[in-house]
Structures are given as C-alpha cells and as structure tokens.
Subunit: 313 residues, 2 copies
C-alpha cells in the first residue's frame, strides 16, 4: 500500500463536566486527508483549504505528529528510508473548539500507521498525535485525539502514563453552533482558577460518574442530569456571547443538555430525537442572528468509528 | 407479617478516589437486627451487643431513621397507629470506618419497609437512613447507606436531589484491618483542606472514571490502577498508624490496591485471588503486632445483595 485517503472527524472535548478526561467523536464536520508513502525521507505537507495554515512540517500539527511517529523506535527499527507526502483539506475550522488540530494530527498518524502495515497500537497513535496538540495549544492533551482515533466516547484516566478507556456511545443527536469569534485555547486555560473548592470538585466528580454511567447504560435522562459543570463553564462561558441564553433556551426546547465544546467558542447540545436537534439548531441560529454575531451550525451525531479509511492504493 | 430478622452489612465508603460518591457493601462483618411491628406507637430499641450505644429512639441512629420513615407522608397516609420494637446485635464496631451507623440505620428502615408491605422505594429508604448518618457524623451522606440498601457498588451522583446509580460489582476479595484506635468522622472531615488544586481534582476524576469503568468492565487491572487518591488520603492517612507501610507491603504482595475505608481507621485492600487476600491479612497482622497496636482483620468479598432477610413471621 502506497497511498491512503481518510476522513478525520471533529471531536468535543470535556463534555461539560469531564474537563481534560472525556471526549467524543462527531459524524460531522470532518477533514479529508491523503497520505502517500515515499522513499524520499522527510515530510511534505500541502493544504487545499483556505485556512492559511503553515505547510512546513515542523510548524504544522500533522507534521510534528508524523515526525513523532517516524522517530519512534518501532519505526526506526524498520531500517528503511521513510517519507510522507500529505494533502490536507480541512473542513473543521481552526479555533472552533471542535478539535481541528486533533483531526489533523490524529488523521495523519492513523493514515501513516496503515501505510506502514499497522505496526502501532491506537494508544501509540494517540501519543504521537498529542505532539500536534502541544504545538497547537502548548499542552499535551488527549481528550480530542483519543476519540478521533478510537471513535465514540473515550475516557482518559491518565496522560502520563497514557490510559484510555473507550466508553459505550449511545445513538444521540448533537447540535453545534460555532459563533465566529476567536477564543484561544491558551487564553481559555489561562482564566481558570488554579484552586477549586473541594465541595465543587465532589459535585463535579459525581456528575462525571453519572455521565459515564449514562453512556454505559444508554440512559439519556442520566446523561442529561450529569451534563453540569460547576467549575469550568461558569468561568469560560463569559468568553462566549449569549452562552447562557443558548443553553437555557435549548434545554427548554428539549435538549438533554450540553455546554462549551472543548475550550470554545462552539456550543454543543445533545438530543434524543433528530427533530429536537433540528429545532435546537433553529434556536441557536435565531439567537446569533439577533445579536449580529456570525455563526455556523451543524446537526450531527456521535461517530462510533473515528478516523475512517475512504480509499487506499 | 409482624416480625422480621435481617442482616445489615458493613460498607466501605469513598473507595479511595471516590470521596463522598462511591460505596461498596461487604459480605462480612454484618449486624443482626429483629424488628416487630406493633400497634403501640413509638420506637423501642434494645441492643444485645456490648457497644454501650444509646437505646432511646432520638439518640439512636436506627431510631431517627425509623422516625423519618414513620413521618413520611406515605406512612402517615396509612392512617393507622404504627410502632416498632427493634433488637440490634451489632458486630460492626462503631467508629471502625466500616459503616456501623449506616448498617443500623439502613437495616432498620429496610426491615420496617418489609413489615409495611414494601411501600417505599430503595431511594426512599436511603433518604430515611441518611438521618441516622446525620446523627452519627453531623452530615447527611449516602455513601454507606446506599450500598447497604442496594448491595454491591453504588455511585451517588448527587444527594440533593438524591441520584443513586448501582454499578456492576465484580467478584473480588477484600481484606480489612481495623486498628483499634479512634478516628472521629468529624475530625477526619475537619482536617481536609476546603480548597484543592484543579490539577489534582482532574487527576482524581480521571481515577474515578477509571474505577467506575473497572467495575463496569470487570477489569481488575483497571480497578487497581484507579485506586489512587491524591486529595484525601495524603491528609487523612496521617491519623492511621502504619498506613503507608500497610499499603506498600500489601501492594507488593499482590493486592490490586486499596486505602482508607470511609474516614478510617480501617484500611481495606482488594485482591483477585482468595490466597492473596489471606496473605495480605497476615501482612497486616504482622505490621500491627510489631508496632503494638491492637487490631482486628477480616477477609471477605463484595456483597451484591446488601441488607438480607434471614427470617420473617
């Protein structure tokens, strides 16, 4: 196999209460990537989208992820000259809070692993892809790259050492609004308090347990009750215009619950029925029309598969 | 039905990382209780053990739990004079950290509910029994009474409103040592810091998620990795002589992991094999012999059933 075409999906990190430990893959939007194995060592990247991302390997998140893979002892042990040519067409807008950098990093190493004969485990791929996350946001985190690679919902018990537990992913609908404002991940991290009240932490881990069991037991009502964040959302939501109004009106309209996607500015809401998910999209559209903030919306679902092979030669 | 005899098991609250939200029922030790329904209103309590506990209903944890049940609108709606005669033989030593007060409270209301024709849900019984916990420790908490009533392992997502999620309970062995020193629940709560580092809280909820999935997936290795408490144990363990040595030597001998039971002073360790659980008992015995602290040990298992009816007339 010399060439592979894949799609790498958007992901929602944190899932409201599960800051830094939970993430979920979406059916849409997704990036499209084509990777070719070459005898010419080195990594050559080309973007066919309009996001003006750096194409030099050391400045591109997919590039640093691929480099980490190539420098792993297993790849080095192949004792042959390896090079990659990567073409990326991003549909997940950078800075949306929908795991754009994770899709690039995870998609690239997933594709490379296939071309090399699947010599790496999924955990290995997450480790490589986290290098892309570090380049993008300054911190090695796995809550976007894990669901992108594993699919569905994943729990990251620990990053050092890496301990990923795939969860059951129920068949729910997800509505997303991406208000077109910029919230930098580093800023969103900066404004968090370093210390939290023990009583709030206890409430948070009760909700985390509830959310995990809601997914496990396919219990939408329990998922809804557990989608509460008493620590991060109250601080971060001030960076997102109309956040409280969106959340309140969507829940009134029947959404199970939701909140900030990753570090924002996108907001997601989960629903049992597609009709509810579409009604919620209209509510979101109306709110941002009224306040005059440009936006983009999606009605999608949980993606149990993650990165997907479209074609290979 | 006029009279019922039940056993009410010991329970382990917190389960290391799950402070205030997780609890587990044990096969042993357990209290024995006989409850009779009477036309003479009021609650009469007699203890046949040597723990010198108060027998007046308003000072006895089982008494206040029964009182809460009798004052519930459903019981009041029966429109008949209800009284109870309760005989308690405690085997779970008060102040052991093994849910002694919870066994009294939960056992009494479970028995009463049976005599009244099971008019209450298990959640109702937990609500009533929490009144006993408040009398014993000053705080309404459910992490002992829930597993006592539901059996197995329970997650308490929230206390107000009460939201209990029963978890799968794997077939593991539990070794317990109860050093015969006094640690008051109120003292153990007092020494905790009111604020915690966000990074520690994140590590804690990663472990909580891991532990819940370890139980769910019957994954002893994951249970072992997740039995880590970076917030409470480092503070509370200083009240328990030889804690660090017990934990280290038991893990070296093959225990999956463990820690303080409830607020202590008992220490529990979980094992996959009975032979390991017995070896760990010997290690615990040896340590407390050496430092000259009196102790009691148990080798037992997870009790999937909770309060159990022995006989009813």
């Amino acid at each position: 196999m010399k060439e592979i075409k894949i799609t790498a999906p958007a992901t929602i990190a944190n899932l409201v209460c599960g800051f830094d430990i939970l993430g979920m893959a979406l059916k849409a939007p997704y990036d499209e990537m084509t990777l070719s194995l070459s005898d010419d060592s080195g990594i050559r990247i080309r973007h066919t989208d309009d996001y003006n991302l750096p194409e030099s390997a050391e400045d591109n998140v997919a590039g640093v992820a691929l480099k980490a893979l190539m420098e792993d002892p297993i790849a080095v042990g192949l004792k042959k000259s390896i090079g990659f040519d990567l073409t990326v067409h991003k549909n997940i807008k950078p800075g949306s809070g929908l795991g754009s950098s994770a899709a690039s990093s995870a998609g690239a190493v997933f594709a490379a692993n296939h071309l090399l004969g699947n010599i790496f485990s999924k955990e290995d791929l997450v480790r490589f892809a986290m290098n892309g996350e570090k380049l993008a946001g300054g911190v090695k985190h796995a809550d976007n790259v894990s669901p992108c690679i594993f699919g569905g919902v994943t729990l990251i018990r620990s990053i050092f050492p890496l301990d990923i537990i795939p969860l059951n992913s129920p068949d729910l609908f997800v509505t997303i609004v991406h208000p077109q404002i910029e919230v930098r991940t580093s800023d969103a991290r900066q404004i968090l308090r370093k210390e939290v009240q023990l009583k709030d932490a206890i409430r948070q881990w009760g909700n985390i347990g509830g959310l995990i069991m809601g997914f496990t037991n396919n219990d939408p009502a329990l998922i809804g009750r557990s989608l509460e964040d008493v620590l991060i959302e109250p601080v971060r939501s001030i960076l997102i215009p109309a956040f409280d109004e969106v959340k309140q009106k969507c829940k009134e309209a029947g959404a199970l619950g939701g909140g900030i996607s990753g570090s924002g500015p996108s907001i997601f809401m989960m629903s049992e029925e597609e009709s509810t998910a579409k009604k919620i999209e209209e509510i979101m559209q109306k709110i941002y029309e009224q306040i005059g903030v440009e936006y983009k919306t999606y009605v999608t679902g949980i993606n149990p598969e993650g990165v997907k092979i479209v074609e290979s030669w």
